[in-house]
Symmetry: C2
Subunit: 302 residues, 2 copies
Amino acid sequence: MIITSCGNSIKLAKSLARKLKAQYSPLTISSFPDGDIYLKYNTSVKGKKVIIVQSFHPSPNSSLMRVIFAAETAKDLGARKVILVAPYLAYMRQDTRFHAGEAISSRIMAKLLNHSIDKIITIDPHLHRYKSLKTIFTIPAVRLTANSVIAEYISKKFDRAKTVIIGPDRESYQWAESIAAKTGMPSTVLEKTRFTSKKVRVKMIKPIPLKGKDVVIIDDIISTGHTIIEAAKKAKSLGAKSITAIGVHGLFVEGLLKLQKAGIKVISTNCIEHTTNKIDVAPVIVEALRSHESARKRLTMD
Amino acid sequence: MIITSCGNSIKLAKSLARKLKAQYSPLTISSFPDGDIYLKYNTSVKGKKVIIVQSFHPSPNSSLMRVIFAAETAKDLGARKVILVAPYLAYMRQDTRFHAGEAISSRIMAKLLNHSIDKIITIDPHLHRYKSLKTIFTIPAVRLTANSVIAEYISKKFDRAKTVIIGPDRESYQWAESIAAKTGMPSTVLEKTRFTSKKVRVKMIKPIPLKGKDVVIIDDIISTGHTIIEAAKKAKSLGAKSITAIGVHGLFVEGLLKLQKAGIKVISTNCIEHTTNKIDVAPVIVEALRSHESARKRLTMD
């Protein structure tokens, strides 16, 4: 087994290799003066299983292209199997045609990966209109969740009697609810109604007293952070003592400043490498790769 | 028939539409805050033939991705056929593994296009180790040449008795030779031997007197321009009166300044949009699209 990365998840790739006692081998990736991709394996992959670890952030397009180039080249060099571990999978939010003529990007991304890789493993993909990854992937697609490691972190750092877990909108409640259940903490969800670009009303669906509580807001993707900031404002107005936001995928496309100015402590998993990483998803991925390996061995023995 | 572009060849796309009396319809292409591509057709393509005109420069990766997104979306919206007109096709120079472990980018690029488009039309692709586009494309792949329009331009602007056409290296001689034959002008080819990074010897293979001549250097791709500059130096040292460089594909990745400082007049075709464009390839493409259309009509009538 060779573990490599196309540039975005090198730390995680190395950590997975250590835990699995596998070889981490870096790819050489650069650009020719004309902008063409240059990609090179620095170890023989012939007959081997190649695990490409690459989160699709930043630069989802470049990441997708690099993953395809790395996968196709591995196959061309005789790799037995190519597995993509994409802790963060981009494009998933464009899961329908909101207006006539639009690209359904998630389907196109999946089609490209279906052609070039043998299996995909991802963590908490943004499944909203799609019930399952099977809707778009024809290759085996494994959906892992960081809920267990996030719940562990919360249990260790927060007092169960004084903490409330909040989903900042209905789409994110699945994560908040599951993590709350694992920690034994109460949870609720907010609902945002936008009247004008300036006027927004945030309502708590299942009222829970927040006065004096430590509030933990959970979201699968923290992109601009606006949703988190609005949820934090609401929680503060209801008397919350402290606000922590935990994102499975911390994109932080507008940086951290606005979130910090709003008095929010920001934490993320290492699905996407970032200074806010405090929760390690490697154990979850290792388990999935080990069970893949043992399933294969069982199959070979039969 | 709908003609569109993914951003790089809009002028040419509009010119083709005018000449073919077809509809030019712009795509809306932008990025979400997280970097995901947003792409939208602004006219119905259902049942229609969609021609995407897109040179793969600048940003070959982004161009390839946009072309795939545009093609897949057209198909998803019911387009009858998707034809890519890529006057400049990138990646073609990586046509073998120069070192173990390297990606053969041209094969990967072709595989991606094979899956997403129905036909490709390109102009003077850099075929060096591949004999034909069929080596990498399974879809119909049409190789046009700008030789005729370049020869026309030279015949109009240069005096046959006073002009010599030069290929700056062996790879480019196929273009110089063919254009010279069409203009009735003499041609020769240079050969570059590199001793150290500084020491290069340029030799003329078939000696032709250059004293007092107008020299026209022809290359398929002008990338950094270094090869052209070395050829120009040689021609000047042999007494050439003036030096003009004509590139089918003017990438000019280091700009024009060095070329201009070396006293070279630079001209390109509009395969890639650039201020040096003086030679229009639209007539060549129009002819190919018309013959495609009439072949289809013949087929339908049978």
